[in-house]
């Protein structure tokens, strides 16, 4: 059976070119980049080249990039690093209600450190209202964090509007761009952000890689204290092969990303319209067009997401869900709650995130999804009630 992978928001395969670039740094060029001798120095140079590649992908300068071990680490470093370094100025931060766990739980940690956190609500499409942001900023606010694109519902925020409000008020602005970098062109200058997190998982780079962009004047308390690595902002021996993978993938993405958008959007439209045609009582979650080009997310009435994912899995299709049963915490996705999806409907969440997918694959998914939904609904006591 051919496998159809439509969960690119969770992980992307590493391309052969990228693997090839990495492998020599496991055994041939294995030295520690801090070492004084030539092998160490050469590897240090290689790291700096990768830093430039990552910077170029997002319109930054190389010395504004810190490598991290994941998007989550980049988010932690941004949120805690800015807050702990800036707490003399104030102990209030603002994050949106649909942030990734790594931002949310960093904020919760800061609450335990006597910070106050304001959670900005979003509308039914997942958008933060700039006026609302302007209203909750206080003199003691030191940081605002709103994600660029949401991984569960695909919504893309008006970051430049939000960041300009913060700039005017002298508040540092961070965006979690893990779900956008690699999928759409991202430029830190256009976005007007002070800090931006990205991850290898969306970039065709290996898992366990990421980076934080930070404007040169931003003060950051390190998250991982240690030696002089990463300009003193992150200790620990550098993950050299990982960094090479992230750099190579960034280089490739920088060249390909503009072309990708149209193709992904076409696939998405095919998938969305197909589903709406073939399946009754289905809601597109997130914004209808301010969304990631390859991202299609739905709530399907009267069925449960985990069961649907398994059924699709049996047809060779990999997709995702925000259903409570599929989360280890057995809790409904806070993102779906935040956009006002009723809890029973939220159980029927299914998310397709496309990248190198084809029209044929979309057609196949449509067919199999329709029959899986039909089968599950035939089992479902709520569906009977609905149609009765």
């Amino acid at each position: 059976m051919n496998l159809i992978y439509m969960d690119h928001a969770s992980a992307t395969p590493v391309r052969e070119q990228v693997i090839k670039a990495m492998v020599p740094y496991f055994d041939l060029q294995f030295g520690n980049p801090s070492a004084v001798y030539d092998m160490g120095f050469n590897i240090k140079q290689v790291i700096e080249e990768q830093r430039a590649h990552v910077a170029r992908l997002i319109g930054a300068k190389a010395n504004e990039i810190i490598f991290a071990s994941s998007g989550a680490e980049a988010n932690n470093l941004a949120i805690k690093g800015v807050a702990l370094a800036g707490q003399k100025k104030g102990k209030h931060i603002i994050i949106s209600a649909i942030e990734h766990h790594s931002v949310l739980n960093s904020a919760r940690f800061l609450e335990r450190m006597d910070f106050e956190v304001t959670f900005l609500p979003v509308d039914e499409h997942g958008l933060v209202d700039p006026e609302r942001l302007a209203k909750v900023i206080r003199p003691e606010t030191i940081l605002v964090s709103v994600m660029h694109a949401n991984n569960e519902i695909g919504t893309i925020q008006a970051i430049s509007e939000l960041s300009s409000i913060c700039r005017e008020k002298g508040v540092i602005f961070h965006t979690d761009a893990v779900a956008s970098v690699g999928n759409i062109p991202v430029d830190v200058n256009v976005l007007g952000v002070d800090l931006l997190s990205l991850s290898g998982i969306s970039l065709g780079a290996p898992k366990g890689t990421g980076a934080l962009y930070f404007k040169k004047n931003i003060r950051l308390m390190p998250l991982i204290h240690g030696g002089i690595q990463e300009m003193g902002r992150r200790g620990g021996t550098e993950n050299v092969p990982g960094i090479v993978g992230l750099g190579k993938a960034s280089e490739l993405a920088a060249n390909e990303i503009s072309a990708k958008k149209d193709q992904l959007q076409k696939l998405r439209e095919l998938l969305v319209s197909g589903i709406q045609e073939k399946i009754k009582k289905v809601t597109l979650t997130g914004h209808p067009d301010k969304r990631l080009p390859g991202h299609a997310s739905f709530c399907i009435e009267a069925i449960e997401g985990e069961a649907l994912i398994y059924m699709l899995n049996q047809d060779g299709i990999y997709s995702n869900t925000g259903s409570a049963c599929a989360s280890k915490a057995l809790k409904t996705s806070p993102v779906l709650v935040a956009i006002g999806v009723p809890p029973d409907l939220a159980q029927g969440s299914v998310v397709f995130t496309m990248n190198n997918n084809s029209v044929q694959e979309v057609r196949y998914v449509l067919e199999k999804l329709a029959s899986a939904v039909e089968k599950l609904r035939s089992l479902s006591p709520i569906w009977r009630e609905k149609t009765a």
Binding site: A302, I303, E304, E306, A307, Y310, Q314, S323, A324, C325, A326, K328, L330, T332, P343, D344, Q347, S378, L379, S380, P381, I382, W383, R384
Partner: protein
């Protein structure tokens, strides 16, 4: 994550459906939590002549419902009452820990259906 037995019952659920004019009906759970089951029984000579179920829920919930229906069908009411979470789990060769509590409601729903029947006939 799931045993072959679970996957088999999930993929080919036995006795799915509704019994119109059922002798007893038992419903547990609710869709807000993610799992909801309805059991329908037909009783003849104190035996479960027919058992059907409908389930809204995850893989575990569906498999549990299916195997409970299979375990119950043909049994006497007394025997059927001995079906528990534990025996269900064993018959499925185990369930993931986090699924034990909320998806394993089949025995409960069946018991409710039997109770429903018993209440009705005692009236």
């Amino acid at each position: 994550m799931y045993t072959d037995k679970v996957m088999d019952h999930f993929s080919n659920p036995r006795n799915a459906g509704v019994i119109e004019n059922a002798d007893g009906i038992g419903e547990v759970g609710n869709p807000v939590c993610g799992d909801m089951m309805a059991f329908y029984i037909k009783v003849k000579d104190d035996k479960l002549d027919d058992v059907k179920f409908q389930t809204f829920g995850c893989v575990a919930a569906i498999a549990v419902s299916s195997i409970v229906s299979e375990m119950a069908k043909g049994k006497s009411l007394k025997e059927a009452k001995l079906i528990t979470k534990k025996t269900v789990t064993e018959s499925l060769d185990g369930l993931p820990k986090e699924k034990m509590h909320c998806s394993n409601l089949g025995a409960e729903a069946l018991a409710k259906a039997i109770k429903d029947y018993e209440t009705k006939i005692s009236e």
